[in-house]
Symmetry: C2
Subunit: 124 residues, 2 copies
DNA sequence: ATGATAGTCAATCATATGGTTGATAAAAGA
DNA sequence: TCTTTTATCAACCATATGATTGACTATCAT
């Protein structure tokens, strides 16, 4: 064990939060500006209570924050957490891409050798 | 209802897949090149069967693919799906950012007004 | 004070998820 | 053939998740 940011509870929650279409819909809506629970619930066919729960999930994932406005509880997007997610993904996308370049380079070096090179399994 | 890519079953699975630290560990490992189930299971304290299930989850999310090599079933990263995830996130990050710029522009137009403008909430 | 508006809390339910153990399949090695 | 290696299948269990209904709290409007 003892990994890198791979073992990060906050990422667990962030990714889990975005695995639901309702919550992604909420995030999409909030990207255009804050909204109340009622406003967020309107496009969906589920109860307001269910949407309220979804918002709590997003809040625990720190993807959104809430303020007060009389009886309203406007919800705001926290873009910093979205950024943390892409940072994680891009990190490994980049490693993978570089790994490919490295393989390409190797194949290019061999070059003149037998054509069987393309099927090769590269060692770690 | 009837949203954009927000209602995409493949995204559901992709985000759900990355919500588990074991599966993120597997992705991290695969970014450095293909690996067998045993190799992938080695760093974790859970059974090989459990890891096998995790790989199936990643496979259904299309984040990895599998080939054959005798009794081995090497697992490979599918970076295209990672890219689809960042594409979704970045789309709304961008909208949100532009929304901010728009707000900034408005505040700048008002300008001469009270200096309270700077109190707006800055991210990260 | 009364009532409407906005939202949460609590109990409940069905299904999904992550893990286990034990049995089995498939290919390689002897 | 018999054994080892690699991996999956099957049954099972505990907990988490998404949704519902009904009751409740808090704030605003008259």
């Amino acid at each position: 064990m003892i990994f890198d940011p791979t073992t990060d509870d906050r990422l667990d929650r962030a990714f889990a939060a975005l695995s639901d279409p309702v919550r992604r819909g909420i995030i999409a809506r909030l990207s255009r500006g804050q909204a109340t629970v009622n406003e967020l619930a309107e496009p969906f066919e589920i109860t307001k209570q269910a949407v309220s729960k979804h918002i709590q999930v997003l809040e625990q994932a720190e993807l959104v924050t809430r303020t007060r406005d009389a009886q309203r509880r406007p919800v705001h997007l926290n873009a910093a957490r979205l950024e943390a997610m892409t940072a994680w993904i891009d990190r490994y996308r980049l490693v993978h891409e570089q790994q490919y370049r490295r393989l390409d380079a190797v194949l290019e070096t061999i070059d003149g050798a037998d054509g069987a090179a393309t099927q090769g399994k590269e060692e770690k």
